[in-house]
């Protein structure tokens, strides 16, 4: 439905003594890809929070095919395949400079009212921004 691509470079602090990127940092890479995707749509996660919504994770699954190394320039593809209701699901694919797919991930985020900490449905303004982006692709 929607697909976004961004690149980022591996930092020294992200590589552990095995010489491979520490697995916990993939969560951050997903977040970097997701934030860039949202920015491409003319929104930002910062604004989402300013409008009173926080989006914590419900689940996250990752598969590690090949390691990433210091200074690698990686590409992440972020996909959204359906309109959000009580949650939004993202799919991620990370590629190295040779175009090899090294990691895939999937996660779902809830919509939580920042003040009450109660779950809510995806706000209308959020759904509209996604819909406008889908319409552009046609």
């Amino acid at each position: 439905m929607l697909e976004f691509t961004t690149t980022f470079r591996i930092r020294y602090s992200e590589v552990d003594q095995s010489g491979f990127v520490y697995n916990g940092h993939y969560a951050t890479y997903y977040e970097v890809g997701r934030a860039a995707a949202i920015r491409t749509m003319g929104l930002s996660y910062k604004e989402i929070e300013e409008r009173g919504v926080v989006m914590p994770l419900i689940y996250q699954n990752s598969r590690f095919y090949s390691p990433a190394f210091y200074d690698d320039l990686l590409t992440i593809k972020v996909k959204i395949s359906e309109m959000p209701k009580a949650r939004i699901t993202f799919y991620y694919e990370i590629f190295n400079e040779n175009g090899k797919k090294i990691n895939t991930g999937e996660n779902a985020l809830a919509f939580i009212d920042r003040e009450t900490h109660r779950p809510m449905r995806a706000p209308d303004w959020f759904v509209e921004i996604l819909q406008r982006e889908v319409d552009k692709k046609v």
Copy 2:
């Protein structure tokens, strides 16, 4: 088959501006639980590497039920349910101070020769240490 428990306290650096622990740190908590489990068996992950084996992740799945907060003293249970062959699978449950289960996870780690970067089967000495631990429980 085997179950280990350890506790740890949430650090200020681990909590993001939503006031909840940032999701990427759960990978580190799993690692803290796993390292403590291995230490209980009289081994250490450090020794494993010194014996020429690194153990990168193959996959990792997490479910987030409730947030964790700054200064929380959390308990992590780590389970191993079968003898490792080409990989070892760990199961994790994280509880807060009220005994509420806030997160579950599962991951599988490969055995890689540190020099050749080739996959290998679980070393005999590793399997024996696990077996000895299983025998203790009987």
Copy 3:
């Protein structure tokens, strides 16, 4: 005037590909030592924030004498040498398991009103807690 000691173990995620702890994590170790010191006094940094005060850094200086390694059990000494006014200064010394001093640090934290984001003097209740601790030592 006041001195506190706590221990912590180096996590795999904290060691970079040089095999040494990544330098940025020393800031977290200082924070772990500081939080434990405050907890010893019967307070917690969590409570400080709940009372409406945040304490960002003004400066931080570190000296690195020897590296720390994965799985090391380190000891951190935290010292406060004078009563806080507009700021509070902490001194840190980190030792490895052989008792070797591997790192020293110093930082000063401001007192900021959480709502207005304005600097303030150390709250009376904070100074009283410190004074009570000093009196105990006599």
Copy 4:
């Protein structure tokens, strides 16, 4: 003598519950600026390590003037003011999008033989690359 500039965006994982960037991440920002500076000179820190040299910190001093926030696009200036001998000293200035200087730092890195872990002088090839860069500026 030499000055380099790069930009980077604040990640969600880098902001703590005070709403400000956690102080420990400034070490990583210095490293990002330093790595970009070295890359501009036609070298990379990765290559430095491949040539058998690791460069751990000797000291690091930071001053925090104003907080940085989630999603801020920051600019870091990195300066080298003299040729390295047993160590190399870097100076950092970080600016926010309004051009306000929010942080300054300084650190010195040693040259350590990767195999022997012994200190060494700055390698000739390293000094030559710096010298070539200085000559360009004239």
